[in-house]
Symmetry: C2
Subunit: 597 residues, 2 copies
């Protein structure tokens, strides 16, 4: 099976050199998070992921989850691994100390989430869903709800699950039917069927806290009549001990392409007792707080799998002897050369690498802004950071999962037939990663969010949080006329011009006809994302070019420059195709007769 | 589960209108294959695929194959389906009447192969491997071997399997170790282990005929010391009845990502009795005869899955009500509009469609040339056709399977979460199709074949078989100045110029340094393939534009023009990115330090 080592060297580079992570400790509340503290945390997380979670990845896939009499069993080893995870404090790292959390900056937490996703994507969903529920509850729950539920969720003895989808409604939550009837004691009776509920039922925690979207009797139709409720699997007594079972049960688990060790449940609510979270009919707001956090987390799933698949492919490409280098045998003493000598194998490996490292940088940029948004003393700076996060959230969700799937497929291809059989675990990465392009809003929905909401918002205010720094950087570097950097700045500049022109086109055409924006959305998001990676690759190249040979005993910075070069020369050209497709407009798809499909 | 209807209307268009299939009957030996005969054959094949093979597709995936005491059982229903398949004469359609075949033109057979692959990819491998063995044996076997084995293989009561790969050798067959020791009676004792043997063992036929690559004792090292042997599972007596079991057995079956109903076997040969096929040490030649036929067949697998996935996605997109059209409710009477109203859903469906129909045209072009190569009275014309087939074989194998996987992924994405669960069968298409990018030479190997062998062959002679007709067509249409056709001819012309320039670059740089050709190979093959589709889409548009409304009661031709337009505007622009990546050269990948990966 492919092994996994957390890419700590690159994570430190991104956090401290690219994103200036030492600044974190200057933010109020983050004083203790200096490099001295962060480094060992990352190392401990790496150890757990490499030694506990990753060894269960393939066995978990083979065994899957089972449902018997309403009880879901996770695969062998999962309960024990979760216990170690919880006891190590990993459920609480990013949570508020007020509820027992460790208050770790998002910029650090994000790196740990990546490691967990690399090591075992199925496992990551159990704490991941709790983290999502934590966000909704901590932002919108009443003090009583927060005091009752959050400490146990933060500690990890209780977990969370989000109950949105129903058979007739996925993307369009306005169609949902689950009902909530108010009771005299201020609680509600919740009734309805929810599907595709990750971590809906399992054997890892003592209790499961469901956040459920439902309609009150007086609810307006559609999306504006949806409220959010907290429904515990076991009712909780005043002393925090568990009371009787609530009216919620798992009716079935789905058989899926991948993430088989993650239980995807049909959850039936039958007059289950619940409590309102936030205001009546304003459930979507509380849900979106969770959803935005989850979308970034799902992006990390794509990145995590890309990294893991890259590592598996490199290991195989170094070992597999097959054929000779086109420029003459590299290892004439061996029966053949390792396949890593072949240009086409290197193309695949470098594509994986350039995507993984570029996406890590983009995720770190967003994560740092999450910290600024929460902690910066200047409200203006907080607002700017919030805008930036809002803008890039759909990009990170869709781009990182699209590229993650591409990377996983390339990794499998490097192994040839050995990648297609289950033994090496490379095909599992493809299957596991594939869901990330779908859940928490399909990538098409992310693209519509970008072009339909984020671009037009406040006359492009959000967009400027990205366009201004990139534009200023290109201008500054062009003026400096740094010869060594020119090979990066020039293609970045070209891609950025394409992005600007496409933005103008999408805004103009979309204003006239929203279907034009819709037709451009997916290509536009990718153009945006690849340009963002080009900006980050240029900055990473700049940092690395400034290093002397003495600074670079292990060749880390030289490899960074080389990967940046590959990205610019071989991957960034995609932006020209995306630009042409966007500029062609949407008539060719909208004019197609429905009956003719 | 997604249902499947053979796209007979489009197949007839491609065969008779685009490829002038009526010409077939003018070829010696094909006199009877007029449209009157071909039409009912296609209809019968469609019926079998829709009603017998497709219903077993998902159950076959769920159940998979099992191995017990060396016996492989195919899933429930497979033996009965195979019996119907055989009794219907479908194993013999493309075979020589001299051995009981029906001698159907390849141009027709190819369409039937597509249907079988759409309906049940796993099933297709059993007759598919026999067809491959038939090609090697009928071209290189002695008369005695041919008389003994071919009639039963053609009849389908015996099947074939190709035994190439060993644990230490896949792409690089020069490393193979299986030994063949000559016996006094003119036979050989074959000993060695083969892996990844599709249809290596199963319960569909009475006997299995293995074609095995092995080394004779006096064999030169490497690829020039490999011979081909025929090894039957049961030895055959003089009266054609089965004798004792030969020394070959299935040691294990692989657990794979997909094609689970196809048994992928480890085959152990232990002093198995075999006979030489062709000359000693010239096994690769006989193997390549099979391999080229198989590569085209594997291309059809990609196309078949693309078509099936398209159909499944369209059906869902018509039925699934979710959200409202961006231009206002299309079905205000319903709770929501069907998702087919959304531009991004249409983008996915039209991409699938444009790829499937374009690839069908390309496959038909190759298939017709196979017929010309075999049947044309003029040797010059036969040679031209042979050149064309040699040139496009790697393109068809790689392009059709790459686009097949892309299409299958898009089809799954249209269904969202419902595509990721197994129920609808859409994720199975993704898993099944994925192997087609790998086996019979990975797509990277196909690309190297194109740039390393086919391009330079005889100073570009092969290439001219494609470049000349395309160039002449563009010139003629540009001169005619057909206003309606200009929107197709112009982008085709631009893509073709890119292809010509990239060809010159690859040839020039590759001559200096073969690694440059290797670095360009994958992008070049795709550029070639997308340009070929652009040529065919332009010709299909031309035919369709010439039709009046009266000619087009069902809107078939109008949809053809609309799909051609979508292809030109939204998909063909990829060629600009591929061109830039190719022109950037391979230094960025070859300079990367091996230790730095």
């Amino acid at each position: 099976m492919a092994s996994y080592k957390a890419p700590l060297r690159d994570m430190r580079f991104v956090l401290f050199e690219l994103m200036d992570g030492d600044e974190l400790a200057s933010l109020p509340g983050y004083e203790e998070f200096t490099r001295d503290l962060i480094d060992p945390i990352l190392e401990e997380a790496a150890k757990l992921c490499e030694e506990v979670l990753h060894p269960l990845n393939r066995t978990g896939d083979e065994e899957g989850c089972t449902l018997e009499n309403g009880v879901v069993r996770t695969p062998k080893g999962f309960p024990e691994a979760y216990r170690l995870f919880r006891e190590g404090g990993w459920t609480s790292i990013a949570c508020d100390p007020a509820y027992g959390g460790q208050g770790l900056p998002k910029a650090v937490d994000t790196l740990i989430v990546e490691m967990i996703c690399s090591a075992n994507l199925s496992f990551s969903l159990y704490p991941g869903l709790t983290a999502g529920a934590y966000v909704s509850l901590s932002n919108y729950g009443s003090d009583e709800l927060k005091q009752t539920y959050l400490p146990k969720m933060v500690e990890g003895v209780w977990s969370g699950a989000m109950c949105l989808t129903e058979p007739q409604c996925g993307t369009d939550l306005g169609l949902l039917r689950t009902r909530a009837i108010p009771e005299a004691d201020g609680s509600y009776k919740i009734t309805g069927a929810k599907i595709f509920i990750s971590a809906g039922e399992h054997d890892l925690t003592e209790n499961i806290i469901y956040l459920v979207l439902a309609r009150l009797p007086d609810a307006p139709k559609g999306i504006k009549g949806i409220s959010l409720f907290l429904v515990p699997k076991y009712l909780v007594k005043d002393d925090s001990s568990l009371g009787p079972r609530n009216g919620v049960a798992c009716g079935a688990i789905e058989h899926k392409m991948g993430i088989k060790a993650s239980a995807t449940c049909v959850m039936n609510f039958d007059e289950a007792k619940g409590w309102l979270v936030g205001e009546p009919h304003k459930g979507m707001r509380a849900m979106f707080a969770m959803m935005n956090a989850e979308r970034l987390a799902v992006g990390m799933q794509g990145l995590g799998v890309a990294e893991a698949s890259y590592q598996g492919a490199v290991a195989y490409a170094r070992e597999r002897l097959q054929g000779r280098s086109l420029s003459g045998a590299k290892h004439p003493d061996k029966p053949a050369d390792p396949i890593i000598v072949h240009p086409d194998v290197r193309r695949m490996l470098l594509t994986q690498r350039a995507y993984a490292e570029g996406c890590r940088a983009l995720a770190a940029w967003a994560a740092k802004n999450l910290d600024l948004q929460q902690r910066h003393p200047d409200p203006e700076a907080r607002k700017e950071a919030e805008d930036f996060v809002a803008l890039v959230t759909p990009v990170i969700k869709a781009l990182l999962t699209d590229l993650g799937s591409e990377a996983a497929n390339l990794g499998m291809q490097v192994l040839g037939g050995h990648g297609y059989i289950r033994e090496h675990g490379m095909e599992q990465y493809v299957r596991d990663c594939r869901i990330a392009q779908i859940y928490e809003g399909t990538n098409g929905v992310q693209a519509l969010d970008l072009v339909g909401r984020k671009l037009p918002a406040d006359a492009g205010r959000l967009l400027r949080r990205f366009f201004h720094p990139v534009s200023a950087y290109i201008e500054a570097k062009t003026q400096q006329n740094d010869k060594a950097l020119a090979e990066f700045v020039q293609p970045l500049g070209k891609a950025f011009v394409r992005l600007q022109q496409a933005t103008a086109q999408v805004a103009r055409a979309g204003l006239r006809n929203p279907e034009e924006a819709g037709a451009a959305a997916t290509d536009y998001l990718r153009l945006f994302g690849l340009t963002a990676l080009a900006y980050l690759w240029t900055r990473m190249a700049e940092i690395s070019l400034a290093k002397t040979e003495a600074d670079d005993p292990d060749g880390f910075y030289a490899a960074k420059v080389a990967t940046a070069r590959f990205y610019m020369q071989r991957l960034l050209p995609q932006t020209s195709a995306l630009f042409s497709a966007i500029m062609a407009g949407g008539a060719s798809m909208m004019a197609f007769e429905e009956a003719a499909f």
